[in-house]
């Protein structure tokens, strides 16, 4: 069983994000970067599948700047076998270019399962997984919360409005992980120490043609000062009116 998990280095969800001087990237000063939490579910699922099968290989793939090697090693520390780092000078290429570079790398490699996080928490793109799968001609099931393998058949659960959709696909296949799929393990000290000794292939990312340009990043508007509409139950009608007409939340 060959499993590839694609991961991305993203700012920690608790980081306070400031837009950089170029108005197009975030200011990295003081920001901690982590393995994208949704990708962590994918790594955990891959490791569980390998452990259950008692055989196989889990490869962590990341496309990004030099620091992405550290993100790959987080996956290796959790227990993955090897890494592929598709290097580029800057991150921030568009989704299709990213997907093309990843697909170009994976084409022709032995692959049974290709796993992604459902989205990267930096840009909430939710596109790369489906694009890579499509470029490779693999069936793709997105936003899954359960994955079961039975021989060459995979059954995945995905939450839909008011229920669960159960999907069956033949391997090789591709999936994107949603919260609830599993509880990612903590890397062990031995795992962390071993990570640096595991093979990590580094190669330039194949240049894909960008189709999109990020024009501008903006900070969210400052929140208006709170207002006290009145006190007691007499204030309720005025509050309802404002919530309906001004805040437009009900």
């Amino acid at each position: 069983m060959n499993i590839v998990v694609c991961v991305k280095r993203v700012p920690d969800s608790s980081a306070r994000i400031k837009v950089g001087a170029d108005n197009r990237t975030i200011d990295p000063a003081g920001v901690e970067y982590v393995l994208n939490p949704y990708d962590e579910f994918a790594v955990e699922e891959a490791l569980k599948i390998k452990e259950k099968a008692g055989a196989g290989e889990v490869t962590i793939l990341a496309l990004g700047g030099p620091e992405s090697a550290e993100t790959i090693r987080k996956g290796l520390a959790m227990g993955a076998d090897k890494g592929i780092h598709l290097k580029e000078g800057t991150t921030g290429r568009d989704f299709i270019a990213t997907a093309q570079a990843i697909a170009a790398e994976l084409k022709g490699r032995p692959l049974d399962l290709l796993l992604f996080g459902n989205k990267a928490i930096d840009d909430d793109g939710t596109q790369v997984a489906a694009m890579v799968a499509t470029l490779l001609g693999l069936p793709f099931v997105g936003v899954i919360t359960k994955l079961e393998l039975n021989g060459r058949t995979a059954t995945a659960h995905r939450p839909v409005e008011g229920g669960v959709e159960v999907v069956e696909v033949a391997l090789p296949a591709s999936f994107s992980a949603q919260k609830g799929l599993n509880e990612p393990r903590f890397a062990s000290l031995k795992g962390i120490m071993a990570a640096k000794k595991k093979p990590l292939e580094e190669k330039p990312a194949a240049a894909g043609e960008p189709r999109m340009e990020l024009v501008k990043l903006d900070n969210p508007p400052a929140r208006p000062a709170p207002r006290i509409v009145g006190t007691g139950k007499d204030a309720v009608p005025a509050l309802m009116k404002l919530l309906r007409e001004e805040a437009k939340v009900i």
Partner: protein, 390 residues
Amino acid sequence: MTAPFTGIDFYQLDELLTEEERAVRDTVRDWVSRRFMPVIEQHNRAGTFPDHLIPEMAEMGLLGAPIQGYDCAGMNATAYGLILQELERGDSGLRSFASVQTSLCMWPIWTYGTEDQKQKWLPPMARGKKLGCFGLTEPDHGSNPGGMITRAKRKGGKWVLNGAKMWITNATVADIAVVWAKDDEDQIRGYLVEKGTPGFTSRETKNKWSLRASITGELIFSDCAIPEDCVFPDVKGLKGPLSCLTQARYGIAWGAIGAAMACYDSSVNYAKTRIQFDRPIGAFQLNQEKLAYMLTEITKGQCLCLRLAQLKDQKKLKPEQVSLAKRNNVEIALNIARLARDLHGANGIIDEYPVIRHMMNLESVKTYEGTHDIHTLVLGQAATGLAAYT
């Protein structure tokens, strides 16, 4: 609740750490945030240790982390220090648990034990299947352990122990006690006493107002006979237990910074969000002075720890250097906890915030592993060559 804990690094000391050391620190920090913080207050109220987390700690390799071989992770001194810093950011009781298991039990077995003793105890202790405790202090001999009256007499191919140890962390839950007692030649030696040995009982010390999430108790030996090979063969005299304490004190120097960081973190968040006189209280000079003190002392303490780690890895560490760091870092941590308590106003006395728990805990940390004053005397002796405590 407040923002997740991210640590304090005013002097960019992270740049002095390796990627692995940072990864270890971040992993333990994350574990403490996700697994320990949600349960600590309930255990602190109940006076219990969260036993259910022991397998997870073992799985990560946190027990016996600096030991080489025997299923242990073999971490360097910096990584081990960072682990304890993060554990004590959670609670001093959690760090005490790891310290006792690692520095006070596994370390002496690894350093002074026979190969059989190591094989028997270290792997299951690393896996958290067997817990240890360290019996040095007696009811009438705390700062002066050399005066101990617990005896081990050789009788018919056995050692027969009589005496009592008090204030022993993990006393009632330990499977194995490292007990220090005097032999027939009045030499202090270390003995391995298994739970359940006839003549060996333990009793929990209840009603503590400090380190409530850590088990403390007494060990009582009355004609407790243990096999002849349950002694450390070669180490004799006070240097046996004192060398263990040097290991543990090293960890406390780091751990205290963790507790201080938790108090500072809570204080900064509180100061920025608590409004009085129409302004965040963090805008008032008196509160800024408190925060400036905390930040300065935490940063100085971090520098001490890092240098201490380098010396330890280079095997140049002197006990008095450890005394300086234990004494300083625990004192400033306690000061910081008290200031944090002040800054939180009335909220500083309830356990919705971690500060009063850390403040109470650090009173024990100031006393155990050599009281603050005893370390003062160690440093006084280092300065003058004159011992004040004999």
